[in-house]
């Protein structure tokens, strides 16, 4: 028979659900494709990303999947893989100027942001003041989200009165949104550019008894955000990426590339709006949800 193929995957952070979901996708994908998979988290440490890439390569992996911490610094691992003649596939983050990854499986961040903006307009038909949280480290992917959102609400009477830098955690967001609620007593909404901060916003809004007044929209709908949407909290909705599908597809394209089969160089998964009406479907099955609302059939094997 054929030699077993082994690949390595380097997701970012074991304590963030987005990545653990992605890892499930990697694992299921590897099972389907019949390859060996080794997963090592980079723990948000760019140096680790490079070290692990090299380690996988020297241990005989035929391909490496990385979820880049940074769209520029990923150049390092890509070069390493290229020099060793190995395939490298990226998930979620598109590199700044593509130095030659085998394939990229990502989300369309701009239209995701746009979808969130449109949802905000729908939820606040009369407009109003809103604030937006930003990740304190800047990147193209993040900018796409902000721009998509801003472009969508441009011309409406929704006004972004403040943008808040957060470190991506719930706590930091909670601490920073709380004074904002005093500063803008007539605040109508918050757009959170990440999932964890949305929970932080929810906590702040709840504590200030403003959940009837403030509409929170989240970019990313992980299980806790989904639960909050379902229960009718101040998080009224959001847009979701599909980390599970992303992971699955990444493995599939990697293996195809290794086997010399045809593969997709760029997969841009849609980012889809989620509201109370359809959130249960998302909770039940990401892939089904994607198929139903995004017309993307994972099982069909793109």
């Amino acid at each position: 028979g054929t030699e077993t193929i082994s690949i390595g995957a380097i997701p970012q952070d074991p304590s963030v659900e987005f990545y653990t979901r992605m890892v499930e996708g990697y694992q299921d994908g590897a099972k389907e494709m019949g390859v060996e998979l080794d997963v090592q988290y980079s723990n948000n440490n760019v140096e680790e990303e490079t070290r692990l890439t090299e380690a996988f390569i020297s241990q005989g992996s035929s391909g490496v999947i990385v979820n880049p911490i940074d769209s520029v610094a990923i150049a390092g691992p890509i070069q390493k893989a290229k020099n060793a003649g190995k395939h490298i596939v990226l998930t979620d983050v598109t590199p700044e100027d593509d130095p030659g990854a085998t394939a990229i499986v990502t989300s369309d961040n701009y239209s995701g942001g746009k979808a969130a903006g449109e949802m905000m307009m729908e939820m606040l038909p009369n407009g109003g003041k809103i604030i937006m949280t930003k990740f304190k480290f800047s990147s193209i992917a993040m900018d796409d989200r902000y721009n998509g959102f801003q472009d969508a609400i441009a011309g409406s009477n929704i006004e972004i009165v403040d943008t808040i830098d957060v470190d991506g955690t719930r706590e930091d967001t909670l601490a920073k949104i709380t004074p904002m609620l005093s500063k803008y007593p007539d605040l109508a909404g918050i757009f959170c550019s990440q999932g964890d901060p949305a929970i932080g916003c929810l906590a702040a809004v709840d504590a200030a008894n403003m959940s009837d007044q403030v509409t929170i929209l989240s970019y990313d709908v992980e299980s806790e955000v989904a639960e909050a949407i379902k229960q009718g909290s101040a998080i009224k909705g959001g847009v979701t990426q599909f980390p599970y599908v992303m992971g699955y597809e990444a493995v599939r394209q990697t293996v195809r590339a290794i086997r010399g089969e045809e593969y997709e160089k760029l997969i841009e998964l849609p980012v889809l709006p989620v509201t109370k009406d359809n959130v249960q479907e998302l909770i039940d099955d990401q892939a089904e949800f994607l198929k139903k609302y995004g017309g993307y059939d994972l099982a069909a094997g793109k």
């Binding site: 952070d13 074991p14 304590s15 963030v16 659900e17 990545y19 653990t20 304190k136 403040d162 808040i164 830098d165 957060v166 470190d167 955690t169 719930r170 706590e171 930091d172 909670l174 601490a175 920073k176 709380t178 004074p179 904002m180 609620l181 005093s182 500063k183 007593p185 929970i199 932080g200 929810l202 906590a203 709840d206 504590a207 200030a208 299980s223 806790e224 639960e227 909050a228 229960q231 909290s233």
Partner: protein, 324 residues
């Protein structure tokens, strides 16, 4: 007689000497408040003030505990990781149906036990506490991640446990009540009890303490036990406020707690300071954070200001000690 010069001081004298002790921080606090209020009157709104206090709960509890630890001459850099671990632990128990009436005391007791262990290691071996606790950070984090394979452990929005962080009792937010209760307990322990006195003495001079029949090991264990119990409580409040036990929670908590303690005039070398100072330090820090946010300081500037504050606080402590 009270007038007797050597005997007790009058209340007024004591108040004055107390105020002068905090002159620097209090002045900074007043200036901050005045400036903030002039430019953004919203700063002084009732809402904002209540919010500030609620937000200072977790840092406040950790800072109270840290006061004990620093008074003994120690330090703890693992606060955030322990808080996260406790949060995950509590959330998990709640998920298994254990009622909050059991979970909260259990969390606190677990914290105290961990603290006793840490205190014992530090007192027995003379390893620098900052390195022991730096190592512990990794261990706690590892355990917190392992607990639920890295997933946050959700707490149902309707679980009564969420009252701990988000609810009100008699119109007062629960965290504020917890903070006040913790303050009173810490104040009484440090100022009225025998064991509290030992904390100051071993921080002042371990050798003299030992020769006076005070057990340095037991007192260090006690301090760390109180500290870790408070950190555990802070971790649970955090979990309650965030509706989940998060392995990555508690970022920067130790840094903030240490800053508050040092701002409050407790000496890094131990033996000198008190919990009232820490309260002032926590308030100053919180007001500062609040003001920076209200004025929309960018992230980098907030980070910078915090770093400068820490260094200024220890420099101030150093200059003050030099004067003594």
């Amino acid at each position: 007689m009270n007038n007797n010069k050597i005997g007790g001081t009058t209340l007024w004298q004591r108040l004055r000497s107390n105020l002068s002790q905090y002159a620097g921080v209090l002045a900074a606090l007043v200036v901050l408040i005045v400036v903030a209020t002039i430019f953004k009157p919203v700063f002084l709104s009732g809402d904002n003030i209540v919010n500030m206090i609620v937000n200072s709960t977790t840092i406040g509890l950790a800072a109270f505990g840290m006061t004990f630890v620093i008074l003994t001459g120690g330090i703890d850099l693992s606060v955030g990781a322990l808080a996260a671990l406790t949060g995950v632990f509590a959330a998990d128990l709640l998920g298994r149906g254990v009622p909050m009436g059991v979970v909260i005391p259990l969390g606190i007791i677990a914290g105290a036990l961990v603290g006793m262990g840490v205190g014992a290691i530090i007192a027995k071996t003379n390893i620098p506490p900052f390195i022991v606790t730096l190592g512990l950070t990794n261990i706690y984090s590892g355990l917190a991640i392992a607990y639920n394979d890295g997933y946050p452990v959700p707490i149902a929005l309707e679980d009564p446990f969420t009252v701990l962080g988000n609810g009100k009792i008699l119109g007062i937010p629960t965290p504020i009540l917890v903070l006040i209760a913790a303050f009173i307990i810490c104040y009484i322990i440090l100022n009225k009890t025998n064991v509290g006195r030992n904390v100051f003495i071993i921080g002042g001079n371990k050798e003299a303490a030992r020769l006076s029949g005070i057990s340095v090991t037991k007192t260090t264990m006690f301090s760390f036990a109180i500290h870790c119990a408070l950190v555990a409580l802070a971790g649970m409040i955090l979990a309650s406020r965030l509706y989940s036990g998060l392995p990555s929670a508690g970022k920067n908590m130790e840094m903030n707690a240490i800053t508050a303690v040092v701002l409050g005039g407790t000496s890094m070398t131990g033996g000198d300071g008190n919990i009232i100072g820490t309260v002032i330090g926590v308030l100053l820090l919180q007001v500062l954070l609040n003001v920076m946010t209200i004025f929309s300081f960018p992230a980098f500037l907030q980070s910078l200001v915090q770093g400068v504050i820490v260094i200024v606080a220890v420099l101030y402590d150093y200059l003050r000690k030099k004067k003594i």
